[in-house]
Symmetry: C2
DNA sequence: CGCGTCATTGATGTGCATCAAGTGGTGTGG
DNA sequence: CCACACCACTTGATGCACATCAATGACGCG
């Protein structure tokens, strides 16, 4: 969590956690239409959030890992508007939102932290919109891999190796592509010597090449 | 603004407005990279927000009208990450964010209101992601028109007539389409008798048809 | 009136979707 | 422990929606 807090403040912040909850792989933490009461801080595990429309369309709107907060969509109307599904066995901290609001009136740092988390999510989604609106398949996947690597690295994992927690289809859904396109694009990256793929294990051989792919549209 | 407030509370909320600012058509309210200090409530006028990437790509991430709040992206890093451009002469209320935080510690309703505004933006962007990721051109534009109509109607404007404040290119950028595609799709709607188009003036003849277009992917 | 901006419409190209077949890993039950 | 079934993935062939390129038309402003 945040920085520059006194011990007392840190204790107060612990108070927002009402309980913990385990979610098995494949199960949902919350569903579209359910009443919103709490935000969830992921302790361990990996989630996807996805929207399902009346007509059966379904789209992954994000992947969340340990240390990230999930459930912000529910605040507006006190109803969750997406499903949060565990992609591996997970544990979350349940943080009742009224308690968060209460405490953040007393602890300025908490208040500001909450605002930042929400703003960060807005900015992240801006980035995804950019990606969906104007990038080609290779760029999307390069950006996706770089983003995952960066987040995993920030958590102390390898910079170059990662294990995908999601299927090709879920990646495709998130990136606005079909699973075949995801697969083909990975294959192309392999041919080009940029990554190695073995099932869901990915080793990045040439991170710069990925970065180039993402930001080399200028020449077009 | 929100409901169920005492007169005293309402007075307090007025305090968040430090000043007003006029923005002429084509000018920016804030720019990517500028220091973030305030949120802005639009009093009159119409804005677009857009991201510009290093490599010159540019994408509209939203259109905002009177009564909406703009600038939420700046909270995370105290830096704006997008440009806000007035599409017509506009006036905004400047609301210094530290004052918002200060006051929302005292006025619960304000605190909750701020949270809702941010959450609403997250949910809106979720919807755009869905649109960009899985809808075809006709569906995107139908959804776009319906959304504009609904927001304008909520502000007391006609349900069936609207004036686009933005160019075809800006619409296309927002929807992940080229301006030609936007134009062609409008023309198709006209052929089908769904709308009338005269420059930027749009009259919706058959709102149900639009709604059908948006939610008729089940059959495909 | 003439120029610039925005919009429309047509002809052609292409990136990704779609359809289809086959492979490989995993898990289960005999 | 092996056989089978299932699922995720890969790879190829074809088609289509939208992009791209290009020409023309309609406003609005100096």
């Amino acid at each position: 969590m945040p920085l520059g807090l006194t011990a007392v403040e840190l204790d107060r912040i612990d108070e927002v956690v009402a309980s913990r909850r385990k979610v098995k792989r494949g199960e949902t933490l919350f569903r579209n239409g359910e009443k919103f009461t709490s935000l969830f801080a992921i302790r361990t595990g990996f989630f996807k959030t996805c929207i399902t429309t009346e007509d059966g369309r379904d789209q992954v709107t994000g992947f969340q890992m340990a240390g990230e907060v999930i459930g912000l969509d529910g605040i507006v109307n006190d109803i969750h508007t997406c499903n949060a599904v565990a992609l591996e066995d997970a544990e979350v901290c349940v943080m009742p939102f009224d308690r968060i609001e209460e405490l953040s009136r007393e602890v300025n740092a908490l208040q500001h932290h909450v605002h930042k988390i929400m703003s960060r999510e807005i900015v992240r989604e801006n980035g995804v919109m950019l990606l969906l609106g104007s990038m080609r398949a290779e760029e999307r996947l390069a950006a996706f891999l770089l983003n995952l690597m960066q987040r995993l690295h920030a958590r102390g994992f390898s910079q170059t190796e990662l294990v995908l927690r999601m299927t090709r289809e879920e990646i495709g859904s998130y990136m606005g592509l079909k699973l075949e396109t995801v697969s083909r694009t990975f294959s192309k990256f392999v041919e080009d010597g940029i990554i190695e793929v073995k099932q869901r294990h990915i080793r990045v051989l040439n991170g710069d090449a990925l970065r180039n792919i993402v930001s080399t549209k200028a020449g077009c």
